[in-house]
């Protein structure tokens, strides 16, 4: 620490600030840590309170058991299948949302067509309707289309996003008009302008929205619960729920905890890996 941060306080104030921050970190991180700790003990240890604060000796056994069939014995599908399902759904939702919301924001910001503002407000209004409100008609549509127990059925209803459209619209509006005009003079049509100029400039925003939407997709509960009947199509969150719906004593808590850890890991990975992009987006302010 060669350069003290301008926010650095001195003496007691500094100590207090650090204490407060450490406390905050503990509050947020402890439950996650505790899940990890629980995943390294046997069911017997978990069921006999208090749960130890340190990782136990059963880690290797729990994890290998979970991967080699322990989960299938309970839920009927392997952990691998659950992770694959969830990854496909989360990726599909995140990428689908980006594709759709970018396209609609592009149309609204850069094209002049009749009822342009009406379209914008229509999209905006859907922000006020949560998924739950339109869940019954959506379910009916999925049934009619024969999309129950399919990936499209899990993904499609969730990829329209007013929030992401709005975010892209706000970003597109910060692009100076001259840039568009320069591209037009240079001979770029709408598609080239999008591909060569708008897309590269949007990358940091795309990364941010990807992270948010990936996590949104990964943690979906209600919709996957409705639209999947077969265990084969379960996402990891649904499987987790199914594992603990037995009587407490029968629940293999050690495996539940392993599954929880594995359910948390991918979103964390996404955040950690994409964080560089956030920082880059913050540093590169010039447009």
């Amino acid at each position: 620490m060669a350069e003290p941060s301008p926010l650095a306080a001195r003496g007691a104030g500094r100590l207090l600030a650090h204490l407060w921050m450490v406390l905050g970190v503990i509050v947020v991180a402890f439950p996650v840590y505790y899940v990890f700790v629980a995943s390294t003990h046997s069911v017997q240890t978990i069921l006999r309170p208090p749960l130890p604060l340190l990782p136990g000796p059963e880690a290797a056994r729990n994890y290998s058991d979970a991967f080699s069939g322990g989960i299938s014995r309970i839920g009927g599908v392997s952990l691998w299948r659950l992770l694959a399902n969830t990854t496909i759904v989360a990726m599909g939702i995140a990428l689908g949302k980006i594709a759709i919301s970018m396209a609609s924001a592009y149309a609204i910001v850069f094209f002049r067509f009749p009822l342009r503002m009406a379209c914008f407000w229509l999209i905006f209004i859907t922000l006020m309707l949560p998924v739950e409100v339109r869940i019954q008609p959506t379910y009916k549509v999925m049934v009619d289309l024969g999309l129950i127990d399919t990936y499209p059925g899990l993904i499609l209803p969730l990829i329209a996003s007013a929030t992401a459209t709005l975010l892209f619209r706000q970003f597109f509006m910060t692009i100076p008009d001259e840039l568009l005009e320069a591209a037009r003079v240079d001979g770029a049509g709408p598609w080239r302008f999008f591909k060569d100029i708008l897309w590269p400039l949007s990358l940091t925003n795309v990364a941010a929205i990807f992270v948010i939407q990936f996590i949104y997709g990964w943690t979906q509960y209600l919709w996957p619960l409705l639209v999947t009947n077969s265990n084969e199509m379960n996402t990891i969150v649904i499987a987790l729920k199914k594992m603990i719906s037995f009587a407490d004593a029968d629940t293999p808590w050690n495996l539940v905890m392993v599954t929880s850890v594995l359910a948390i890991l991918p979103p964390i990975l996404v955040v950690v890996l994409m964080q560089r992009w956030f920082v880059k987006g913050l540093v590169e302010t010039e447009k």
Partner: protein, 354 residues
């Protein structure tokens, strides 16, 4: 390289006309500057030639082809924007090559053209940098380079120097002039800066409120301004213009002094224009304009005296020799140079030939 023809070009926004019919022929290789105060429609006119604004009425012809309905890319033009509008994520080289890449020129040709422009603009060391790593002057040169590599029929520049500091502006002005001499590109240049206008232009369009007040060579605009507006806009410090009432070869000035003026076009109220540089101290006994000085600005070579015509509140600016000992409060008598009198109609401001 091409001729540009503007034929009664008009622009209106929702029924509100902002450009009132401009007709002009720009010869192949000519450098024409559109000059005027902000809001006069000069940028709008340029953008209509570029194809960035729709033309409400009239026609624009580039190289013998009416381009009204053509997209900018089909008009064979290149443009330099006031804020340069460089693509921030592309290197200098990519910025300059982008238009050529879209035009699907062979790679070798693109490289040759970019290299040539980079040499001419002294940008070689920066070809792989991004715009944000460049200074304002360098960015400006990249914008110029991006336009030049296209070798367009017409080069359009929209206040390209107004974001630069004064010293750099002079430098770039000379460079643009030199580049025009070298390439012989038909050029349309918008500015509000009269020095840029006077030094760069083969011909000027002086615009005011959507009307071309005068289209002429810089010298002609200076020597024979077509209207009171042009007279006041071109020249620094601005021309002194005030109302006199004329009768029998004599003009009564504000404040009551009477001045015999040769070539008075007619009697009645007139607007008389006198440039500060065309006023000299009067000889004893000569009919003159009495002026009371309120301040004197000394610039070294010259000094400018700011005063009022005695007995009135009409301001008058005089150009004095740098060594002049005059100071605030002094009373001087000045006589106008009879070869440089300008008369304008008191109602519509048009020039009245003496």
């Amino acid at each position: 390289m091409a001729r540009i023809l503007l034929n009664d070009v008009r622009k209106s926004y929702a029924g509100n006309q902002v450009i009132h019919g401009i007709t002009m022929e720009i010869a192949d290789g000519e450098f024409v500057v559109i000059v005027g105060p902000s809001g006069c429609g000069k940028s709008t006119l340029l953008r209509m030639v570029a194809g960035l604004e729709a033309i409400s009425a009239g026609t624009v012809e580039i190289g013998g082809k009416v381009v009204n309905e053509l997209e900018p890319r089909q008009r064979d033009i290149a443009m330099v924007f006031q804020n340069y509008a460089l693509y921030p994520h592309m290197s200098v080289r990519e910025n300059m090559a982008y238009g050529l890449k879209i035009a699907k020129l062979p790679k070798a040709e693109i490289e040759a053209r970019v290299a040539k422009a980079a040499t001419m603009l002294e940008l070689e060391p920066y070809l792989d940098r991004k715009p944000r790593a460049l200074s304002g002057g360098q960015r400006q040169r990249v914008a110029m380079g991006r336009a030049l590599v296209r070798e367009p029929a017409a080069l359009l520049l929209d206040e390209p120097l107004s974001n630069l500091d004064a010293k750099l502006r002079v430098q770039m002005r000379l460079q643009i002039k030199e580049m025009h001499l070298r390439t012989g590109q038909t050029t349309l240049y918008v500015t509000h800066d009269q020095v840029e206008a006077m030094t760069l232009a083969d011909r000027l369009i002086v615009m005011n409120k959507g009307v071309a007040e005068q289209i002429a060579t810089p010298l002609e605009v200076y020597q024979r301004p077509a209207s009171e507006f042009v007279a006041g806009f071109i020249g620094s410090p601005a021309m002194n213009i005030f109302t006199v009432s004329a009768a029998e070869g004599r003009a009564t000035l504000p404040g009551g002094a009477v001045l015999p003026l040769p070539g008075l076009p007619r009697g009645g109220d007139l607007r008389l224009g006198l440039r500060p540089e065309h006023l000299r101290p009067a000889a004893p006994g000569e009919a003159a304009i009495p002026v009371v000085l309120r301040s004197v600005e000394r610039l070294g070579a010259d000094a400018f005296g700011y005063g009022m015509i005695e007995g009135s509140d009409v301001p008058l600016v005089l150009r004095l020799p740098g060594t002049s000992g005059l100071a605030r409060g002094d009373r001087v008598e000045v006589a106008p140079d009879p070869g440089h009198l300008h008369f304008f109609d008191a109602q519509d401001g048009r020039r009245i030939e003496g």
